[in-house]
Subunit: 343 residues, 2 copies
DNA sequence: CCAACGTAGTCACACGTGTGCATACATGCC
DNA sequence: GGCATGTATGCACACGTGTGACTACGTTGG
């Protein structure tokens, strides 16, 4: 009950109170079989009364592990990222790991700085989302043996351990859906920052067109920025074309949100005038007007899988494969047959 | 250039390579004036070549500080929370602090567990958002001297250091805006989880009504959950009333989003049939159809202020006041005069 | 009764870094 | 030349915890 006002009690304070050596206290608190159960419980009681809490810092120094993982994200303010991190955090917490969070702001220099900071702090493992840095992580991995898992990796260089969504197949499904509705002029609004995932979604888009015998038209592929603002601008470009598209597939839901805004502002209707498909299935896709057809990513699950992969690596298993999670088309209200067909 | 494959080099390895004691290495790397500039730069070169990085955990053990802060949030998947954390992270990073992130899932037991975990790890400071725990933080503060800053605190008990939005004034402005447009039947959709902020926004709502001589009607105050789903359900209740409201003020934008969804589904129009006001000004408020009138919280700034307050406390300043940030009404397209008046 | 043995606890060291104090050496002054 | 002064470096300890090796003691078996 007697709280130490000045400094929190150390293991030696407890040893003194219990009239034993600090070694015995250490063993008693870790339930070692080397200590008499009666004195063990006595010590535990004393420690509890004194409000003793073992220092994780000191323990880490001797055990050489911190029960800590580092997570690097572009920005946590991105709803997609936030959900992935939530999944990571959930699994980490269950296993008594604490997570460091750092934003890289899509600056590879900051990303490297963050990873170095993690290394200094002796994190047991690192998860990097949407990384743009290729070889760094391998170097780090080989030098200091810190396991690294990449989720939604944006660098083409294959990484030993990563969790990815099946972009090609997902976007293929989305575009195929539009084709089946009767669309032929289908646009794609890219993300000029999403290197790998954007390229893969473009691949799926082209594959679907080719498979249906629709010729690829360069003017129908325009650039956004993966955010709503970029979607608006890109959509305006598309609407200004001589022969505008009847359907638009967007890199992600945020882009689609901006596109939708632009279409509304031009007094056009979705899906009557233009069909719209997103990617990610953010919660918001269910609350747009009309509800957004999109390709679902199991975001939270991606985070969980990444953390579980990392746990395996940290426990010494080295035979862990990369994981590729299937995407699922979710048809809602923003897609319909084009006017020509429906009339 | 010779990379150590097995274990990262320690300060003693560098000392051996430079043929000096580890003390000299330590001083050289911290640019102490006690060491000859020439040997200092020689040592620095050797350390760089060996890829030496000082262990933060060993340093923390002796310096008694970790340059680490803990952040507890309800869930990072909430867009409001994510932006606050982004602000915290930005300032922390500038000052070379790393941040631990933990979700409490609105479970006060988990919140306490998280704070204890932080204490074990010797964090230099703690930020808790939307805390539901009252006295714990004072106890922790008085016992272990770890500075705690509360942002958007949900417990009525006044805390020594907190960052809050001016809820009463913000919601008063919002409701006053509706009254000036001619509305008399104005509903409020509450949040059954937001103890303090919800109570304050209700207070502002009632104050505005009273000031305008509008009698408070109990049936016009219904409960949501602070999320879109709850907003939908609550709105349905309001539309089912014998004399439904002509305007609805929502606890936050997410609630408003759900309400908007419900109104659309009932084939009614915003703002022609019903005016709608949110709170927070999430980015999404600019991308709904119609754009949402709302009360802006400077979310990122709240996080920055919280971190700056914490920095002051950690540096020993104890005369830090609580901060109260003004909210700002942002009028967009979801509010208009009621039908009776406009016709 | 003594040796062998198991049990409960202590001693001492390690983890990697920072720092007060002592020391060795060079320099300057009387 | 001896002494005070200053400078560059090494020694030893501290931070708080975990653990292998060792010891003291009580018990058992021959």
């Amino acid at each position: 009950m007697q709280a130490h006002r000045t400094k929190p009690p150390t293991i030696k304070d407890i040893a003194r109170l219990a009239s034993v050596s600090h070694s015995t206290v250490s063993r008693a608190l870790r339930n070692s079989s080397l200590v008499d159960p009666k004195t063990a419980s006595r010590i535990q009681q004393i420690a509890r009364d004194a409000g003793y809490r073992a220092s994780a810092v000191a323990r880490s120094l001797v055990t050489q592990e911190t029960r800590t993982v580092g997570v690097v994200v572009t920005t946590i303010a991105d709803p997609f990222v936030a959900e992935v991190v939530s999944g990571i955090e959930e699994v980490a917490n269950q296993r008594c790991y604490s997570v460091f969070l750092t934003e890289s702001k899509t600056d590879s220099e900051l990303e490297i700085k963050a990873v170095h900071s993690f290394a200094d702090r002796w994190v047991d493992g690192i998860i990097v989302t949407s990384s743009r840095v290729g070889s760094l992580h391998f170097k780090l991995l080989s030098e200091t043996k810190v396991p690294v898992v990449l989720v939604n990796n944006q660098h083409s260089e294959a990484s030993p351990h990563s969790v990815m969504i099946q972009n090609v197949e997902g976007s293929r499904q989305a575009v195929q859906h539009l084709i089946r509705l009767g669309h032929r002029r289908i646009a794609y609004i890219r993300d000029r920052f999403g290197y790998q995932s954007d390229a893969e979604r473009l691949t799926g888009y082209r594959a679907a067109l080719r498979h249906a015998g629709v010729t690829f038209s360069k003017e129908l592929v325009v650039y956004g920025d993966g955010k709503a603002e970029g979607g608006m601008v890109a959509m305006r470009t598309l609407l200004g074309l001589q022969d505008p598209p009847t359907a638009v597939f967007c890199y992600n839901d945020m882009t689609a949100l901006g596109a939708l805004r632009c279409i509304h502002d031009e007094r056009l209707q979705v899906p009557q005038d233009i069909s719209l498909v997103g990617f990610d299935d953010l919660f918001i896709a269910s609350y747009t007007h009309p509800r957004l057809t999109t390709v679902r990513q199991p975001k939270r699950q991606l985070g969980q899988l990444a953390m579980e992969t990392l746990l395996k690596l940290m426990s010494g298993q080295d035979s862990v494969d990369s994981i590729s999670v299937p995407a699922e088309l979710v048809v809602r209200e923003s897609t319909a047959p084009p006017r020509e067909v429906s009339e």
